[in-house]
């Protein structure tokens, strides 16, 4: 197939100065801004994690006031979910989806600009919600955890109001971004490209976008009801006024459970490209993979109350949520098998993105196993709110979401920057970060099973060894990201020139229009629709 490279010379130059970024409607520039934003927030959220782990290095109180500790736990989660994984995945969607499907840009470029620029505003609000506690008279810090459960979240101070507005901005931003992505996928494909021809990453974002449109408004509605309860005399969540705090839990998890698929799916999409590329074989079972994601989309929306087994639901409801949750491991397991079969008898090479992909398959499956343990009601009554849950979801989210995005970063850096990254440093980063991750979170399974509760600043001395291993691992994990940053900066600044298609397996089994463009691609690409084979 042929690529577009030399049409519309007249406005191929990006505008100069800050206007290029502030007023940008260009999918590549907006993608870059999303990615840079995510990287900055990664260090902010990471710094909070370092403080948390420093505090937990020893039992007793070391450096943090208990409420401040819990506020950091709250903000760490919100930043990592909304400030890192979602923006990074949206950045990749912006950069890659139009190029993959042969579109000149996103469907709604001005809305795209607004989706991004709401994020820095949200970040400022979030940081002020943390800092406002240092002004006397503003009440208790937001010590609720990211789940923001009432009644506590109705009682805490001004920080909570700022956090509610933060969630509003984040919600508007990601709903608009999702609408844009879904519309782009439906309407902007190059003539002749059918939905079933799209690279898996595009499909993954299609479902992610639809999920977000359905769930983000529920969270926004839920926190708005909190705001009403706090200030306007309603009692949605107050039993004394005829309301019910459990209603908030249902609203939160109706958002919260599908949200984990929002975080997971874009990375599954990346794996769907990386694994065939470095196995030099077409994806095994492309169509089933699309269907599995569809099943995940549907099941994901109807199993939320497995986070609430301990609230005293009816037996029928409990059984329903348990069975539904266990069923989810079927499509997830099948996806993993498809990836393994893709590698089977391929001529594999182990560049950094592929190393991440293989490690993800191993470590993410582990999270699937602990997930099924947690799904079983009588077992979860023991595990709930212990470090076992913390271990489960860090194994799900760091390999399942974060490492998938790292694989994407290494896979596409040559395309984005026009330079190859330093493969040796990439591999060092992979081993360093993977070992440190396991050192941090593996011991938490044991402390959790032994009964160490989550979200508490202090712990019994019996847990001291596990926590010290965790903390040392965490510092090593944090430190490895300085190398990550260095690799990225080095690649942006220079390095071996990347060809249009730096990976020889890259187009196997997909149209892969992005690889027909030079690296880096011109400011405007596919202004005339490309012709497919």
């Amino acid at each position: 197939m042929s690529a577009v490279t030399h049409e519309e010379h007249h406005h191929d130059e990006p505008p100069k100065g800050f206007k290029r970024w502030l007023y940008s409607t260009n999918h590549k520039d907006i993608g870059t801004m999303y990615l840079v934003f995510a990287l900055v927030m990664l260090f902010l959220g990471g710094a909070m994690a370092m403080l948390i782990r420093a505090e937990l290095y020893m039992p007793g109180l070391q450096i943090l006031d208990p409420d401040l500790y819990n506020n950091l736990v709250t903000d760490h989660a919100l930043i990592m979910v909304f400030g890192v994984v979602m923006p990074a995945a949206a950045g990749m969607a912006n950069w890659m989806i139009p190029m993959m499907i042969g579109a000149p840009d996103m469907a709604l470029p001005r809305m795209n600009n607004m989706s991004f620029w709401l994020l820095p505003a949200a970040a400022v609000l979030l940081v002020s919600s943390l800092l406002v506690q240092f002004i006397p008279g503003t009440g208790t810090p937001v010590n609720t955890g990211w789940t923001l459960y009432p009644p506590l979240s109705v009682q805490v101070g001004l920080g909570m109001d700022l956090l509610i507005f933060t969630v509003h901005l984040l919600g508007i931003s990601s709903i608009m971004a999702s609408i844009n992505i879904v519309t782009t996928i439906l309407n902007m494909r190059a003539p002749g490209m059918k939905m079933m021809d799209m690279p898996l990453f595009v499909w993954a974002w299609f479902f992610t976008g639809l999920l977000l449109v359905i769930i983000m408004p529920v969270l926004a509605g839920g926190v708005t009801m909190l705001l009403f309860d706090r200030h306007f005399g309603t009692s949605f969540f107050d039993a004394a006024g005829g309301g019910d705090p459990v209603l908030f839990q249902h609203l939160f998890w109706f958002f919260g459970h599908p949200e984990v698929y929002v975080l997971l799916l874009p990375s599954i999409g990346v794996l769907g490209l990386v694994i065939p590329t470095f196995s030099r074989k077409p994806l095994f079972g492309y169509k089933p993979l699309v269907y599995f994601m569809g099943v995940l989309f549907v099941l994901g929306l109807i199993v939320w109350a497995h986070h609430q087994y301990t609230i005293g639901m009816s037996l029928g409801a409990t059984m329903y949520f348990m069975i539904g949750t266990i069923m989810i491991s079927i499509p997830i397991g099948l996806m993993i098998f498809n990836f393994i079969f893709t590698m089977w008898r391929g001529s594999m090479t182990f560049e950094t993105p592929m190393l991440f992909a293989i490690a993800i398959i191993l470590m993410f499956s582990f999270a699937g196993v602990t997930g099924v343990m947690l799904a079983v009601v009588p077992a979860d009554l023991q595990y709930h709110d212990t470090y076992f849950v913390v271990a489960h979801f860090h194994y799900a989210l760091i390999p399942g979401a974060v490492f998938g995005l790292y694989a994407g970063v290494f896979y596409w850096l040559p395309k984005w920057t026009g330079h190859m990254y330093d493969e040796k440093l990439g591999k060092i980063f992979f081993w360093w970060t993977t070992l440190a991750f396991n050192m941090t979170f593996f011991p938490q399974h044991f402390s959790g099973l032994a009964g160490m509760p989550r979200r508490i600043v202090d712990y019994n001395i019996q847990f001291i060894e596990f926590n010290q291993i965790s903390s040392i691992g965490a510092f090593a994990f944090g430190l490895s990201h300085l190398l990550f940053l260095y690799i990225i900066i080095k690649t942006v600044k220079g390095g071996e020139k990347a060809p249009a298609k730096p990976w020889d397996g890259a187009q196997i089994g997909t149209p892969g229009l992005e690889w027909t463009l030079p690296s880096p691609p011109p400011f405007h690409s596919f202004t005339t629709p490309p012709k497919l084979k």
Binding site: S2, V4, T5, P191, V213, G233, S235, D244
Partner: protein, 45 residues
């Protein structure tokens, strides 16, 4: 693009806006649904 390969550009603006509006309406509907739990949840006294 090679001259002979050009495919006519279609203007998708309208279709794009319609899909966006439809999805936006879905989002707004979902957002207000929880508030209908209001029934007797407002302190009247």
């Amino acid at each position: 693009m090679n001259e002979n390969n050009e495919i006519e550009k279609k203007d998708m603006t309208k279709a794009n806006i319609w899909i966006a509006v439809a999805l936006g309406i879905i989002a707004l509907t979902v957002a207000i649904t929880p508030f209908f739990y209001l029934n007797n949840a407002v302190i009247t006294g």
